[in-house]
């Protein structure tokens, strides 16, 4: 049995069951373990098994990459359900699953209003994201790309914080609008291919060999780039992100920061660089400039925030600047750095959002001027927060540093100046991260704070897992590096993959 379609479909089916289960026992309190929560958990566990199967199973080499699934969908337009998996997608799916476990254990239990629907949307988002990571049919990719936005919109708009509606609208408008531009690019590529070969197909591997004139390929690449840049986000179009991250419920924030942003990076690697290598290399200086701008600008604005979640959101912009920088260095090293950075940023930022969410659950505020000195009251939570803040500021030995270093090194190969500027971003990262730590955790306790319970040890164990992953990424990233390398596009004659995947 092919695990790929199961990977995609399992979450949404489980979500449906969870929704139904949520209706079975409508009286839900935070303490009682309701049925739909268990359904979600079981779904994720089964998904993990399937993923393990996909990771360690012996693939049948029917496609260009280890995992392959194909089924005709709309033959008239050359559209098929094509799912392929290489190390990059696999590692990002693993990341998604870890994020989901994190959310399920730490963040979704707090939802009491329409919990079943919440979980359904949550898992539906996961379906969209996994589908995005797996699809190699451009139409299917776009389908999933759009699909993941809707449940996320619902999550933000219905369960978010005070200004959720505006944030959700903003989020949706930006991402969807840019998606339409990508749609045009996809169509442009397909039509160009059709004109030249007479074959109408949306197959990624076939389209990769489309001969394109420089101007056309630049145009098409820009179309893709804009969509991914909005998702990533790159600085001029990052506007949606702080609001969305701030207003989203904790679980949605984790998903947003943890994996949704990664789809942008994934898309850039898979579509910008691999489909249009020439145009991408010509565009690289601008993209790298944008990346550096993102690093500095994000860090700068993060420093000016009083809202914890907003601060974390801006720090995400800064980190994603590194990803952009790395992707467009044009070297394998930069790309690997970007991938590692994506994984590590997913873990660390998700951790931070969970911490921020826990603080908000307890204190009902996100304003750093109103919270402070939590260490005395909640040493465990504060310790976790400190750890993730350190990861965010790029402490060597944790995952972010590995990614940032590789990116910087690759950038230095290209040109030292952006590397130096990006490194300056690290100083700013230290400034905002420590500011946060010293405002929230290590500060004089505020008067008027009622005593609040610390996180339970069980939840700490979940945090600890994430921390272990981060440390692993930091000190032993080599397996991840080899594992998550995007496989090269197969030359027409090549049958099997070259890359080393387990």
């Amino acid at each position: 049995m092919n695990p790929l379609p199961a990977l995609v479909l399992l979450p949404i089916m489980g979500g449906g069951v969870a929704w139904v289960a949520g209706h079975v026992r409508p009286r839900v309190t935070t303490t009682s373990r309701d049925a739909s929560w268990w359904v979600v958990l079981v779904t994720l566990i089964v998904e993990t098994f399937v993923l393990v199967m996909a990771t360690f199973g012996h693939p049948v080499h029917t496609g260009p990459w280890p995992g392959h699934f194909s089924m005709p969908w709309i033959p008239a337009m050359g559209i098929a359900v094509r799912l392929d998996m290489d190390g990059l997608s696999l590692s990002l799916i693993w990341l998604s699953l870890i994020m989901c476990f994190l959310c399920v254990f730490l963040a979704t239990r707090q939802v009491t209003v329409h919990a079943g629907a919440f979980r359904f949307l949550f898992l539906a988002t996961l379906t969209g994201i996994i589908g995005t990571f797996l699809a190699t049919d451009l139409f299917l990719f776009f389908f999933f790309w759009e699909l993941m936005l809707v449940p996320m919109f619902g999550l933000i708009a219905a369960w978010g914080h005070e200004d959720r509606q505006r944030a959700a609208m903003k989020f949706f408008m930006f991402t969807q609008g840019s998606g339409l531009i990508m749609l045009l690019s996809i169509l442009g590529l397909v039509i160009t291919h059709y004109r030249q070969t007479g074959v109408l197909t949306f197959d990624y591997f076939t389209l990769a060999h489309t001969p394109l004139s420089p101007a056309v390929s630049m145009l098409l690449m820009l179309g893709f780039f804009i969509a991914f840049a909005v998702k990533l986000p790159v600085v001029p179009v990052h506007v949606w992100l702080p609001d969305a991250h701030t207003q989203a419920p904790t679980a949605a924030s984790v998903l947003l920061a943890g994996i949704l942003l990664k789809t942008g990076g994934y898309g850039m690697i898979r579509f910008n660089i691999m489909l249009f290598p020439d145009a991408a290399s010509r565009f690289a200086p601008i993209a790298m400039g944008l990346g550096v701008a993102g690093i500095v600008y994000g860090a700068w604005l993060a420093y000016a925030q009083d809202d914890v979640k907003r601060l974390i959101a801006y720090s995400s912009i800064s980190h994603m600047g590194f990803v952009l920088l790395g992707i467009f260095t044009g070297s394998r090293m930069g790309m690997q750095g970007a991938i590692i950075q994506m994984l590590a940023h997913g873990l660390s930022t998700a951790g931070l959002f969970v911490v921020a969410g826990a603080i908000q659950d307890r204190l009902h505020t996100r304003d750093m001027r109103c919270i402070g000195g939590l260490w005395a009251a909640m040493p465990r939570l504060s310790g976790a927060g400190l750890f993730f803040a350190m990861a965010a500021l790029g402490m060597p030995g944790l995952g972010n540093f590995t990614g940032e270093f590789l990116v910087l090194l690759a950038t230095w190969h290209v040109s030292p100046l952006p590397a130096i500027l990006a490194a300056v971003g690290l100083v700013l990262a230290a400034i905002y991260a420590l500011r946060m730590v010293n405002r929230i955790f290590l500060a004089a306790p505020r008067t008027g704070l009622q005593p609040v319970p610390d996180v339970a040890s069980r939840q700490m164990a979940v945090f600890a897992c994430v921390m272990v992953f981060l440390v692993l990424l930091g000190v032993y990233p080599q397996p991840f590096v080899t594992f998550s390398a995007p496989l090269p596009l197969p030359v027409a004659a090549m049958t099997g993959p070259e890359g080393a995947t387990p």
């Binding site: 969908w73 008239a76 389908f143 074959v199």
Partner: protein, 480 residues
């Protein structure tokens, strides 16, 4: 001798004789329920006989009616929509007081079918008028009498003007060509070169009016607002399909006149932008749907403008998507309305629907997302098809407007979804006690159509357009 010249598609026959039967039944004993049942039965029968016909095509080919896959498709779409609208209005208490409702609906459908099957100006024009007059009657069925009559009046005057313009154009065309065959007039000897274009433009103005393209769109929101919800759906769906079908035939059979390009371009841009921009500020749901329908016609015209092998798929899917999603929205709106409470016409009434009526809210947002072109609804694939056609023809300007329009559209559709997600300040009302099972069934069926159509749109892609538009190339170039 007469019979030889007559070619009559069977649905027309069935529907028209059905109307007679209904009249007879009404004369025998008035019963609203029975006439509804009768009408639906007739429509089902008509759907079943689509593709058959009575009589033969005259030898000289100058037939009044034509029958091919495109007409069959649009006819089915039309009749299906009418059935849905019947279901929607079945137990609507404002409508149920009058049994002529079903009759008028059937007459409107007959007009629409006449337009769909027409191969000649004459049945086209008569069908148009039957449809128009029926709509005038239907519009006055609402709870509120005065707005209904006002809407009917507006429609009457404006459609009269447009009919006159259309007729004048047809007359000019007839004068130029000496034939009422349904195609753009070509300059024949003896008349000025400017005459055929003038005739074409006048005909187009008439058609655009019915299609409610900007700047001929103004009647649509007012009429839809004044009409009861099912009638609004009828105006938004059936009359649009009925006019679009001959439009495709009209320009599909020949190469498009060169001057048409600019006009169409301008109209499309105006329509997309006008429809979307005006929808943006509506607080009235039905008006919003009216403007969104205008905008959708703009998108549809993009596909109409770009002949090619992708065109037929794009148009057919878009029509189906538009029909299913719009009908779905109206059906949900009808299901939401309570006799004493809110009727769902004002967007603010939808506040907190997700909490009070989760199912209604979910289906509604689903339909709206489909209209906005977001997966997994069929609207996504439809918009995709339109964009594909546009890209294939390098209509860059139109594509830009398509995207701008879509983004604006996204905003107002999402705005409704957002409103539904707002937690209501008041305690949620008790569920609608007047749950109408047939309406719920309709909503579910439409939802299924939207989902399944969105996930498996392959069936709708067959080339259905009049044969001349589809290039003769076969599908050998397609992988898989």
């Amino acid at each position: 001798m007469i019979v030889h010249d007559v070619f009559l598609p069977a649905p027309l026959l069935v529907v028209s004789s059905g109307i007679m039967v209904m009249l007879g039944a009404t004369a025998w004993r008035r019963s609203v329920g029975r006439s509804f049942l009768c009408a639906m039965g007739i429509l089902l029968l008509a759907i079943m006989v689509v593709g058959h016909h009575a009589g033969t095509v005259p030898d000289h080919g100058d037939s009044l009616f034509v029958q091919d896959r495109w007409t069959a498709y649009t006819a089915i779409l039309t009749m299906f929509s009418t059935i849905c609208i019947m279901l929607m209005s079945w137990r609507d208490d404002g409508i149920m007081r009058a049994d002529e409702y079903a009759l008028l609906l059937m007459l409107g459908t007959l007009g629409a079918l006449a337009m769909v099957f027409s191969a000649n100006y004459m049945p086209f024009f008569v069908g148009l008028e039957i449809l128009g007059v029926s709509i005038m009657g239907l519009v006055t069925f609402g709870h509120r009498a005065v707005p209904g009559h006002e809407a009917a009046m507006k429609y009457l005057i404006l459609s009269g003007v447009s009919s006159a313009i259309l007729l004048f154009g047809i007359g000019l065309a007839y004068g130029v060509t000496g034939s009422l065959r349904f195609m753009p007039p070509i300059a024949a000897g003896g008349v000025s070169a400017a005459l055929p274009p003038a005739a074409t433009i006048m005909i187009l103005v008439g058609m655009f009016f019915k299609l409610s393209a900007v700047p001929f769109h103004m009647w649509l929101p007012d009429v839809m607002e004044g009409a009861p919800v099912p009638v609004a759906a009828f105006v938004a769906v059936v009359s649009k399909i009925a006019i679009f079908s001959p439009l495709v035939r009209y320009f599909g059979t020949e190469n498009q006149p060169p001057f048409l390009n600019d006009i169409l371009c301008g109209v499309i841009i105006l329509t997309i932008m006008g429809g979307n921009l005006m929808a943006l500020r509506q607080a009235d749901f039905i008006r919003l749907m009216a403007y969104s329908s205008i905008a959708h016609m703009g998108y549809l015209l993009i596909a109409f403008m770009c002949p090619g092998r992708l065109q037929s798929g794009a148009i057919t899917v878009y029509l189906a998507a538009y029909t299913a999603s719009t009908l779905g929205v109206f059906a949900v709106m009808d299901a939401f309305a309570t006799p004493g409470g809110p009727d769902g016409r004002v967007i603010a009434q939808w506040k907190g629907v997700f909490s009070s009526h989760p199912f209604v809210g979910a289906v509604m947002s689903f339909m709206l997302l489909s209209l906005a072109g977001i997966p997994p609804g069929i609207g996504f694939f439809a918009k995709f098809g339109i964009a594909a056609v546009g890209v294939a023809h390098q209509r860059d300007l139109l594509l830009c407007f398509l995207i701008i329009g879509s983004i604006i559209g996204l905003y107002y559709y999402l705005n409704i979804v957002r409103t539904m997600m707002v937690t209501p300040s008041l305690p949620s009302r008790p569920l609608n006690r007047h749950v109408r099972p047939e309406l719920m069934a309709l909503v579910i069926v439409l939802g299924m159509i939207v989902v399944i159509g969105g996930l498996f749109p392959a069936r709708a892609i067959h080339p259905l357009l009049p044969a001349a538009t589809v290039p003769s190339e076969t599908r050998d170039g397609i992988t898989h």
